[in-house]
């Protein structure tokens, strides 16, 4: 349980060494560079420009990677570590930047071409749809229209008006219509008439809801044009297939793209850190936070690349707030993620991971409470953890491995194995419900007391032992005294009364006036209800455990009923067993996880936690696709 002590680094070095120094710091990953602005020293516009360019390049690389990734033949699985990259690969990637960027350019070109193809295809398809009804009409489309002496029109007419329209047209004299095709209720017709009856024809068309179809800029017959369009669409398909093939080939370059992306991202981080320094023409001044234990190693490493550099390590000032770095044993360290999920602790507060971890694991086991599920969950999580170590999902996998282990222990005590009870359990949650409920509250009591001890420890560490006695000591006496009454009435009673009197006299010590002090004490004593509700909250340990056991039992009964139905029943029963037990395991592990967190966040942290820290975010090798190999 430790929050690392931080030192403030001040580094003065030559500008020409800056890039190399930053590289060393990035490799060590232990310096968080602090922003410094001083108007006397203008910002470094050259590196700002470079940063912007880098940003653009990384954006392009990201986009190209996203386009190519679906065709990646050697896609890294969820459970495999990213490839390693050493100094040589980085040099190679930097040397091959031109070639790699050509791949990116080609991907962008293909993307553009695809966009154009889409537009062309849409246009051609629209025209195809328009021409298709006129396929049977052999008049060249450019010959349609009107002259002084004749008119030839392609028209559409509602089908119901056909007979009337045809009769009236015939009555006009030199005019005729020929049907071409029908689309739902609309007829497509070819209308030919002498120029002299044009007005009569137009009048009739208005009356019968007919309209002229114009084919602007289309030469030749509809059938001919349809053929042409089909050909065009086929060509588009061909080009598209070619592009697709090329994209698949380009996907082979993904490893280079990913490596270059990460190399550029590393440089971006360095430049960003570099911009936070104060620069003069030939020197620069950097301020940053360093964990105290890394200070000497850092100094030596910096001296090695730049013998002229000056470093100094200062203790943080009273009004300065260093970033928070949690440091724990590797068994506890994964649980820091749970603490950080709540909030990063204040750098002058306390890191609760170490005390929280055993409780978290214990609660998780009590809530899943089925040894069979514990075995499955523990083994699956252990496998993931073994593959990934502490990267990515690995931390979560470790937490669940511990949870699974605890589940096996509690499941054995409760006698739950996949919803069955193969032996007489030590504690039977179904028949000894009250005993288990009491056990849960007792465990919760220990948890609360631990929380109060943490708070007392903080007060004592800050040199205020009286605060610890007033605010926690007396309360502890009440909380321990009351249950003690059950065992030894007088002793318990005395302890509890002393505690209560103590709280009454001291809780209002910061209030003004006698009345205020007394009211403060009474008000604080009323807080006992808060402790009661906190304790009851631990009843969920029993409730959640019960839910798992009973649902598991239901699944087994269902499967048992199916089993009786003969060979088909066997198959169904096994499917039901596998499916429903998996579901039950999943939903209960999820519930146990979040409820275990809740008991820490509200009941436990509520007693002592001081949030408000910022995570230590050093300049480090924050890559996405590759792992930088560690050299000595």
């Amino acid at each position: 349980m430790a929050i690392a002590e931080m030192k403030k680094l001040r580094l003065l070095a030559l500008r020409k060494d800056k890039a190399r120094l930053l590289k060393v710091m990035q490799k060590l990953g232990c310096v968080q560079v602090v922003e410094q602005a001083d108007e006397a020293f203008p910002a470094d516009t050259l590196s700002a420009q470079k940063l912007e360019e880098l940003q653009k390049t990384i954006g392009r690389l990201d986009l190209a990677i996203a386009r190519l990734s679906p065709y990646d033949m050697h896609k890294p699985g969820m459970l495999s570590l990213p490839p390693e990259a050493g100094e040589d690969q980085v040099t190679l990637a930097e040397a091959g930047r031109g070639d790699t960027m050509k791949v990116v350019e080609r991907v962008e070109e293909i993307e553009r071409t695809r966009g154009e193809l889409r537009t062309r295809e849409n246009r051609d398809r629209a025209q195809l749809e328009m021409l298709r009804p006129w396929e049977a009409m052999d008049v060249p489309l450019d010959k349609l229209g009107e002259t002084r002496s004749a008119l030839v029109w392609a028209i559409t007419l509602p089908q119901k008006n056909l007979i009337a329209f045809e009769e009236r047209i015939k009555a006009l004299g030199p005019a005729r219509i020929d049907p071409v095709s029908r689309v739902r209720d609309e007829l497509n017709l070819l209308l030919a008439a002498h120029g002299s009856v044009r007005e009569g024809v137009e009048e009739l068309m208005r009356e019968h809801g007919a309209s002229i179809v114009r084919f602007e800029g289309v030469q030749g017959s509809a059938a001919l044009n349809l053929d042409l369009l089909q050909g065009k669409l086929k060509r588009i398909e061909e080009v598209r297939a070619q592009l697709q093939q090329e994209v698949q080939q380009l996907a082979g370059h993904l490893p280079e793209l990913r490596l270059l992306r990460d190399v550029e991202a590393l440089e971006r981080s360095r430049l960003e850190a570099g911009q936070r320094c104060i620069d003069t023409r030939s020197a620069f001044l950097m301020t940053g936070w360093v964990p105290a234990e890394k200070a000497e190693a850092l100094k030596a490493a910096l001296r090695k690349v730049s013998p002229e550099c000056e470093t100094e390590f200062l203790d943080p000032e009273e009004d300065e707030k260093p970033p928070t770095l949690l440091q724990n044993h590797r068994v506890v360290a994964p649980f820091e993620t749970i603490v950080r999920m709540f909030s990063t602790p204040d750098p002058r507060g306390v890191d609760p991971s170490f005390v929280m971890m055993p409780f978290w694991v214990c609660f998780f086991g009590m809530m899943v409470s089925d040894a069979g599920y514990g075995v499955v969950l523990g083994l699956a999580a252990a496998f993931v953890w073994w593959r990934l170590g502490d990267r990515g999902l690995g931390k979560m996998a470790f937490i669940l491995t511990m949870g699974g282990l605890s589940t096996v222990i509690w499941g054995s005590i409760y006698g739950g194995w996949f919803g069955t009870t193969p032996y007489k359990p030590v504690l039977d949650p179904m028949n000894d419900a009250l005993k288990v409920l009491v056990l849960c509250v007792v465990v919760g009591f220990i948890h609360l007391v631990a929380g109060m001890c943490m708070s007392a420890y903080l007060s004592i560490k800050r040199g205020k032992p009286l605060e610890a006695l007033f605010d926690q000591g007396f309360w502890l006496m009440i909380l321990v005294g009351i249950p003690l009454i059950l065992v030894n009435g007088t002793l318990g009673g005395i302890i509890a009364v002393i505690g209560a009197l103590g709280v009454l006299c001291t809780a209002g010590r910061r209030k003004k006036g006698i009345v205020g002090k007394v009211l403060g004490g009474l008000g604080s004593l009323y807080g006992i209800t808060g402790y009661l509700s906190d304790l009851l909250s631990y009843a969920r340990l029993f409730g959640m455990g019960l839910a798992t056991g009973v649902i598991g039992m239901v699944v087994n009964i269902l499967a048992g009923l199916l089993w009786g139905a003969g060979p088909v029943g066997y198959v169904l029963a096994i499917a039901v067993l596998l499916g429903l037990h998996t579901f039950n395991l999943f939903i209960n592990a999820l519930g146990a996880y979040v409820h275990s967190c809740r008991l820490q966040f509200i009941e436990f942290f509520g007693k002592f936690y001081e949030s408000g820290g910022r995570d230590f975010a050093p300049l480090r090798e924050d890559t996405r696709y590759v792992m930088m190999s560690r050299e000595k």
């Binding site: 419900a433 009851l536 029993f542 409730g543 959640m544 519930g591 979040v594």
Partner: protein, 172 residues
């Protein structure tokens, strides 16, 4: 009336009032908590679909949040099932446990906490889950906070489950 395979009157005459009350209780526990959960999961799901539309990467976290209001239905079913065990419904039609009127009433009363609290709390939890999912859309890294807030609502469903369980378990 000709006797068929299923004779409702004969079946009802075999049941005592206590058994009927207990069965009604089981049914209420299952369907009220179930309806509440369906509603809660539905509210969260609607919000989830919107957020996934913008950012498909958060699907896993959204699914967890959507699932949280689903537990109330399970609690209701669990209580219903415990009533069935107490009644020995699964032991066959003739072997049901005999219940007095008072016992039946106690079981019915025991079903009410999980039925009513499960029903309402699942809906409220669904709303918090929906807000948590919105939060996820804006800041994917804060899924932990969203889940914690949603779980707060669950406390009362768990307490109701416990109350129901204890009342029913000690009825017979």
């Amino acid at each position: 009336m000709e006797s068929t395979g299923f004779d409702l009157v004969a079946l009802l005459s075999q049941l005592s009032i206590g058994q009927c009350l207990a069965l009604i209780g089981a049914a209420i526990a299952v369907f009220m908590a179930g309806c509440g959960s369906a509603r809660g999961v539905g509210i969260a799901g609607e919000a989830g679909a919107g957020v996934i539309g913008e950012n498909p990467d958060v699907f896993g976290q959204v699914l967890v949040l959507q699932l949280l209001p689903g537990t109330q239905g399970i609690y209701g079913f669990l209580i219903g099932f415990i009533v069935m065990i107490k009644l020995n419904v699964l032991g066959g039609a003739g072997n049901w446990t005999e219940l007095s009127f008072a016992q039946g009433l106690q079981i019915l009363a025991g079903c009410l906490p999980v039925a009513i609290v499960g029903w309402r709390s699942a809906i409220y939890q669904g709303r918090v889950a929906a807000s948590g999912i919105q939060l996820l859309g804006k800041r994917p890294e804060s899924s932990g906070q969203g889940i914690s807030m949603t779980v707060m609502v669950e406390t009362y469903a768990v307490l109701a489950l416990l109350a129901s369980f204890l009342i029913i378990w000690f009825a017979v």
